[in-house]
């Protein structure tokens, strides 16, 4: 029996072994990609969920910040008054001649 089949030539043998290892490698890669993609999908769903709650929270924040409500709360607990123009001064005003005069 002759063993000089073309299939078992050295290059064919090399191809066979290479394809075997490449197959294993590819399987691993595919598996890894599938895992990563699952993670990605999961993360994206989470982002979506968080965005959704953010959106709801923002609407709720809007409700809580209703100026009418804030004003009522202020009248009830804080008793803050609007700023009076006399309470605000500028540095320029400090330098005024009349201010200097009053210091003397």
């Amino acid at each position: 029996m002759q063993i000089n089949y073309p299939l078992l030539r050295r290059s064919s043998l090399f191809a066979l072994i290479a394809s075997f290892f490449l197959g294993i490698g590819l399987y691993h890669l595919k598996h890894k990609v599938a895992t990563v993609e699952r993670d990605l999908r999961h993360t994206r769903t989470r982002i979506m969920e968080i965005n959704e709650s953010l959106h709801i929270l923002r609407a709720e924040w809007g409700f809580l910040n209703n100026p009418h409500r804030l004003q009522k709360l202020n009248e009830q607990y804080l008793h803050l008054k609007p700023v009076n123009a006399k309470q605000i001064s500028s540095l320029e005003g400090m330098n005024d001649e009349r201010m200097k005069g009053s210091k003397k």
Binding site: I56, A59, G62, P67, H68, A85
Partner: protein
């Protein structure tokens, strides 16, 4: 040798077959090559396709990577600071499939216990009906949904829905508008930007300021109560960009359940009214800009004017010669008519054409009133229009027109969108020098004239009062004197105007505090003062020392009769 090798394999029928075929054909190699080449081509094609799919057309942003806004049916509407004015909330609605229910009576009892607003009989009728599908309750809160789940009923289900929410309820109702159950915009910004809100999915930013809007509404609500007025409207506008900061029209409505009727009507944009003495600002602008009248001149206001059978009198006559600044600060009709007559009918018509009072405004909320002007413009029309009768425009046109009078003379289209005015350049309607004179006149009126109640010291306010008699809707005659619209237009700070306010009360009544007066200065004046004092710090307008020499010089105006050197500020 080749032949020997193939023949020597007795098991290989295929090779024998190939061998026979090769023997029978004239040239064996080309056929074999053809097969190889075909296969190579096929694999190359597959390779290219793989490369194409995996590398070239791979887009990490498609499909799964959607933003929250693309999920919502409709984009949010925000104010200029990013506060939410309208948004969509995902809610759950409860429905039942009656044929799946095991015990409809028990289910009805359990559900009616959870929701006192659902009648048990009605529920049971729905649940025992033969329909395949019945709504039980729309838009549940998450807590309600949880409770229903806890009941463990078979045959009741939830449907995810979106609901348009307006966190500030009435506050923005006229501008933002509202939508129907299916989320279609029916009025205001919601209607005008229907397409943009649904397609672009990006929040729409308005020029309105939530805080200032509240300040204006709050002041108007109390003013309306105090003076027992029928309606009230108020606006704040940036004089240099045309952006609306606040726009309130009372009575208003809740956009979650819009009523039909008067409350829906936005008086600021839709209503057109005779503005009374407010129009004197325009008459003065027109006369001073034409250079036919100067501030050193004066007019005899001691005698009423007669046009045929029509008599023009002053509301509170001084019965003497008045300088031009005095005509303005005491709001003399006689003096104003004489000034308008110097410019003439044609000049007046051109001026109002120029500032856009003869056409309806174009705004982003679509609904705009059509102004009323005389079809044929005679001298009598010129006379009455000069002090605000015989021509009706919308409050938005007035505030926009006065903004152009004080900002240096540039008229822009008003806008409700932030940083989006396509008329930012505007067009010049009066000279910068005339605008400067008007600023002095307006400040003088607030300091010593009819507008003292609107003065907010420190903010260098300038303004004009107006009290326009109302016409009877049926007879078209002017009704009793106590039925009028009280208006106050003010800008601040007058040496470099930043903002302008407009306040109008419909049929205000005097109180003991106003000594029975119900005119613009007495009723709309204090409201304006409150708005300016509360809003100016929020808008970043710093108070100035009004007695400083710099400000004194900027506001100086010689008002004394017969040009004696006495200057009064």
């Amino acid at each position: 040798m080749y032949q020997a090798a193939t023949l020597s394999n007795p098991n290989s029928r295929l090779q024998a077959f190939l061998h026979n075929r090769q023997e029978s054909s004239s040239s064996p190699m080309p056929r074999f090559t053809l097969v190889v080449v075909l296969f190579m081509l096929a694999f190359t094609a597959i390779g290219f396709r793989l490369f194409w799919v995996m590398v070239l057309s791979h887009n990490p942003n498609n499909a799964q990577n959607k933003s929250i806004y693309s999920m919502l049916e409709r984009a949010d509407i925000l104010d200029r600071n990013g506060d939410v004015l309208a948004t969509n909330l995902i809610t759950f609605s409860l429905y039942a499939r009656p044929n799946q229910l095991i015990d409809s009576e028990k289910a009805a009892e359990k559900l009616s216990k959870l929701f006192p607003d659902l009648n048990k009989q009605v529920l049971q009728k729905k649940l025992s009906s033969r329909k395949p599908f019945v709504w039980l309750k729309r838009n549940l809160t998450p807590r309600q949904q949880e409770r229903i789940n806890a009941l463990g009923l078979v045959g009741v289900h939830f449907q995810k829905e979106q609901k348009r929410i307006y966190p500030h309820e009435k506050l923005m109702a006229h501008v933002v508008g509202y939508t129907d159950v299916d989320g279609k915009g029916l009025s205001g910004i919601e209607r005008k930007f229907q397409g943009t809100l649904q397609e672009k999915k990006e929040p729409l930013r308005l020029s309105l300021d939530l805080r200032v809007q509240h300040i204006v509404r709050d002041a108007l609500v109390r003013g309306m109560q105090e003076f027992r007025a029928k309606k009230a409207s108020g606006m704040v506008m940036d004089v240099n960009t045309g952006e609306m900061i606040a726009m309130v029209s009372l009575p208003d409505f809740d956009p979650h359940k819009p009523s039909s009727g008067e409350a829906i009507f936005n008086t600021n944009t839709l209503g057109v009214y005779e503005m009374g003495s407010i129009f004197k600002i325009f008459t003065f602008a027109m006369a001073l800009d034409s250079k036919k009248v100067t501030l050193d001149q004066g007019f005899d206001a001691s005698q009423p004017l007669t046009f045929g059978k029509f008599k023009i009198k002053d509301y509170r006559p001084k019965n003497r010669w008045l300088s031009v600044p005095e005509v303005f600060m005491y709001s003399s009709n006689i003096g104003t008519v004489k000034m308008a007559m110097k410019v003439g009918t044609e000049g007046q018509k051109n001026f109002f054409e120029k500032i856009g009072f003869l056409q309806p405004l174009k705004t982003e909320i679509g609904e705009n009133g059509v102004p009323m002007a005389p079809r044929e413009w005679h001298d009598i029309n010129t006379a009455t229009i000069s002090y605000g009768y015989g021509m009706a425009v919308s409050p938005l046109q007035v505030i926009n027109g006065v903004a152009a009078m004080v900002n240096g003379g540039i008229l822009r289209s008003p806008t409700l969108l932030l940083d989006n005015n396509n008329d930012r350049e505007g067009k010049r309607v009066i000279s910068a020098a005339t605008s400067e004179k008007l600023r002095r006149l307006l400040h003088l009126t607030v300091l010593h004239g009819s507008g003292t109640k609107g003065n907010a010291p420190g903010y260098l306010v300038g303004g004009k009062t107006g009290s326009a008699n109302k016409k009877d809707d049926h007879s078209n005659n002017y009704v009793a004197k106590d039925k009028h619209r009280a208006i106050f237009v003010a800008a601040f700070p007058m040496h470099d105007p930043k903002y302008i306010t407009f306040v109008m009360l419909d049929e205000p009544h005097g109180t003991s505090q106003t000594q029975g007066f119900s005119t613009g200065g007495w009723t709309s004046g204090p409201i304006t003062k409150e708005i300016i004092e509360k809003a100016a710090p929020l808008l970043g307008v710093l108070p100035v020392d009004e007695s400083s020499p710099k400000i004194q010089a900027a506001m100086r105006l010689n008002i004394s009769p017969e040009g004696s050197a006495h200057a009064l500020r």
